[in-house]
């Protein structure tokens, strides 16, 4: 093991180096597993059955096929407290870390009864009294009770959400790498932005860039939209075929996943040589809102402090979230849209913070950043020139 680098920047790359891998993934997984097992003990859970993509990755560290969208609950990973083991739905060993042995794998089934039978064979599951899940379906709830265990099925969030909320140093490094990949994608999109290009072409350029950097599964394909220079301005999510107009303000909002960890940023740019005359005022309002939100991201502050910071910066109710957690994808807390006033920010959290302002006759301006809540205050992990 090389000494811990004084310049953490040396960690921000994706190649293995001959003296060491940049991220100590074995330690990353061990720290996560320990937090989960501690949480299970604290909450009196004998086992967990998990289907959420982030939860499965958190407990297993397995590299599984990336898919868009969210599926109904199905048990993809099972954590047993005694004997302490992680079991995984994987028909093969590729992508499965070494601490999960062959005997801990169960296969892909199309017949839910066969899946239930495999789950029942996992040592410690049948006799469990309290099992945490991250969701249910009426069918799985019945199958688990009939064929797997008569345990009480409770919410696993008390364990998983708590474990995931505060990041370890290795997790922060992964988020740094993801930030850099997202910044690279922003450069590619910014270089390509010109009147006449379509949002879908920009999305293609984005996807090409993150894929070529080894992160082909984007956290979201909502990565760009042009805003109109007249009429109401709405936040849009779906890429259109319409060519971007000369002088339009265009939101570029790439994210990236590295080892499952998500970071992202957004900047707004003018397509063409000059935007509407009052663009600098709108950009400065956007920046003030962002600065106010980021400044409020201190340990001990509440969600209500972010709402207040946003309002004091002179902004009306935001139609998008002010902040939400980041880690293995998007995660709680959610602050904004009427939610999250009572949330308390903790040291070690990472948040996606965004300022979205609009003005009819000019357009919209979005700034988004990935913010690490540290003891001394917030650090914005993503870096890029402002409008």
């Amino acid at each position: 093991m090389s000494p811990a680098p004084r310049d953490r920047g040396v960690l921000v790359g994706t190649m293995g180096l001959e003296d060491d891998a940049r991220v100590d993934f074995a330690r990353l997984r061990a720290d996560r597993r320990e937090k989960v097992l501690d949480g299970m003990e604290r909450h009196g859970l004998d086992a967990l059955m998990l289907g959420g993509v982030g939860n499965v990755r958190y407990v297993s560290g397995a590299r599984q096929l990336g898919r868009a969208g969210v599926l109904p609950f199905a048990p993809v990973a099972v954590v047993v407290a005694e004997p302490a083991r992680v079991h995984l739905l994987s028909t093969w060993d590729e992508g499965v870390p070494p601490e999960i042995g062959y005997e801990d794998l169960y296969r892909m089934n199309w017949n839910p009864a066969n899946l239930a039978a495999d789950l029942a064979k996992i040592p410690g599951v049948r006799e469990a009294r309290r099992v945490g899940t991250d969701g249910l379906t009426p069918r799985f709830a019945a199958l688990i009770r009939q064929l797997v265990t008569t345990a009480e099925l409770v919410d696993a969030a008390a364990v998983l959400t708590t474990a995931r909320r505060v990041k370890t140093p290795e997790e922060i490094t992964c988020l740094d790498v993801a930030s850099a990949i997202a910044e690279a994608a922003l450069t590619a999109m910014e270089d390509a932005l010109a009147p006449g290009i379509t949002e879908r072409e920009l999305l293609g350029i984005y996807d090409e860039k993150v894929a070529s950097l080894g992160a082909p599964n984007p956290p979201s394909e909502s990565v760009c939209f042009a805003t109109p220079t007249s009429g109401p301005v709405m936040f849009r999510h779906l890429a259109r075929e319409r060519p971007v107009g000369d002088g339009e303000l265009v939101v570029l909002a790439p994210g990236a996943l590295y080892a499952g960890y998500e970071a992202g940023l957004a900047r707004t740019r003018v397509a063409g040589r000059s935007g509407p005359a009052a663009t600098p005022e709108l950009a400065s309002r956007c920046a003030r809102g962002m600065d106010a939100l980021v400044a409020a991201c201190r340990p001990g502050n509440s969600g209500a402090d972010l709402y207040r910071a946003w309002e004091r910066a002179g902004n009306p109710y935001s139609s998008v979230s002010l902040a939400h957690g980041l880690g293995l994808g998007a995660e709680p807390p959610l602050i904004g849209l009427g939610r999250g006033r009572d949330v308390t920010l903790e040291e070690g959290m990472v948040l996606s913070v965004q300022s979205w302002v609009t003005e009819e006759g000019i357009g919209g301006c979005l700034e988004r950043g990935t913010v690490h809540v540290e003891s001394g205050g917030p650090t914005t992990m993503t870096r890029y020139r402002r409008l």
């Binding site: 959420g52 898919r67 879908r200 999305l203 080894g214 082909p216 956290p219 994808g329 959610l334």
Partner: protein
């Protein structure tokens, strides 16, 4: 091209018919593909946890004229969705504000209603502990089993975009190209061509010559599909390609075998594998028409492969496709022979045939042919070129 408004109306009518037939008063849908099916609402492709936290929720009440959509993605809502059916997002995954979820249900359902749900979050279970939920999968699955002509047209177009983008990806395949380079070329091109979303991390798995040289598996059969990395592709590598993009909510499924090289030419053994694959698919297609059972199709495929089951143990001879990349009908799975015997082909079913031909020591061949069952037989929805094995087959 499909008439999207007509397609949405027909799907919604099917859901209403199934609610009636199954004695369910309505649906609450949280899964991405079920929401897409019930409402036609578009949303950006997002990674699992982001798609969950910011999910759209659809509510279908029996007898209502249109679905209700609770969403962040206003710009994805169909133009013909009435204003009073468009709602601000609900957050069923967090406790804060969950009373709005309760209120939304109370707005559409009388107390004691039997409601089908596809995914239950714990915050929802906490506030509605006594509700007698049905599983929405029964209603949605029955509605989705056969496709309308507009749905078939969507799958065909989605598939066309996928195949056209693959032409560009295959063009760059040479020794030294990495798997992620193929992903980059494919994804860039498929959005230029008009794809709505990418649904799955594209797969470019290098197949070892023997099972033992590939990844270890639980069942001793092949591992497939494994996840793309920055692995370099080298002269002669056999690659099983699989990619799914989405157009107007409909999945596509590109499956082909490629060989790494400059103008690669399959050797005799490889050509033989390809011909065998063709004859296995043809054996199933020869008998495919309404009223044929899934079991007969599986049996025909096995016979054409000299009695050896020509598909991987954890998969199937064929799967359906629609707003999900794999859905019913499933032919040859662990649901078993009795299940397959009861699965009867009907006009409007869509099947992706993906048998695998394997020669221990010489790797194997896999491609995918997509067909829709018609009143008298079938029509092919996927392309008929299989380079570098066969330009037309």
């Amino acid at each position: 091209m499909p008439d999207l408004a007509r397609m949405r109306a027909e799907r919604y009518r099917r859901l209403q018919d199934q609610l009636d037939a199954q004695g369910v008063d309505g649906l609450v849908l949280l899964g991405s593909s079920a929401v897409a099916y019930a409402t036609g609402a578009g949303e950006p492709a997002q990674d699992g946890d982001r798609a969950a936290l910011f999910r759209s929720v659809a509510v279908v009440a029996k007898g209502d004229s249109a679905p209700h959509v609770y969403t962040h993605y206003d710009d994805g809502l169909p133009d013909d969705l009435p204003d009073d059916h468009r709602h601000a997002p609900l957050f069923p995954d967090i406790d804060d504000g969950i009373e709005q979820f309760v209120k939304a249900l109370a707005d559409h359902f009388a107390p004691g209603a039997r409601i089908g749900i596809d995914h239950q979050t714990h915050p929802v279970l906490r506030v509605l502990p006594d509700l007698d939920w049905a599983d929405a999968a029964d209603v949605v699955g029955a509605a989705k089993l056969t496709k309308t002509p507009d749905e078939v047209a969507c799958i065909r177009h989605s598939q066309l975009l996928n195949e056209l983008a693959m032409v560009d990806a295959r063009k760059i395949l040479r020794p030294g190209v990495r798997q992620i380079d193929l992903s980059a070329a494919f994804l860039r091109r498929v959005f230029e061509l008009g794809a709505s979303a990418n649904s799955i991390d594209p797969i470019w798995q290098v197949m070892a010559p023997t099972r033992e040289l590939g990844p270890w598996t639980v069942h001793g059969d092949l591992a497939y599909p494994t996840v793309t990395t920055d692995r370099f592709l080298r002269e002669g590598d056999i690659i099983w390609v699989d990619a799914g993009i989405n157009w107007q909510g409909y999945a596509s499924d590109y499956g082909r075998t490629w060989i790494t090289g400059t103008d690669p030419v399959p050797n005799t053994k490889q050509q033989e594998q390809f011909r065998r694959w063709r004859s296995v698919v043809d054996a199933a297609l020869d008998i495919l028409k309404p009223d044929v059972s899934a079991l007969s199709l599986g049996t025909a495929a096995i016979e054409a492969n000299d009695g050896v089951r020509p598909w991987i143990d954890h998969f199937y001879l064929a799967h359906g496709i629609g707003t999900d990349s794999a859905e019913m009908p499933l032919i040859g799975t662990d649901l078993g022979e009795e299940f397959d015997e009861r699965q009867i082909m009907q006009p409007g079913m869509v099947a992706v045939f993906e048998p695998v031909i394997w020669d221990e020591g010489a790797s194997g061949y896999r491609s995918e042919d997509i067909v829709a069952v018609t009143d008298s037989g079938w029509v092919k929805l996927s392309g008929s070129t299989y380079e570098p094995y066969g330009v037309e087959a």
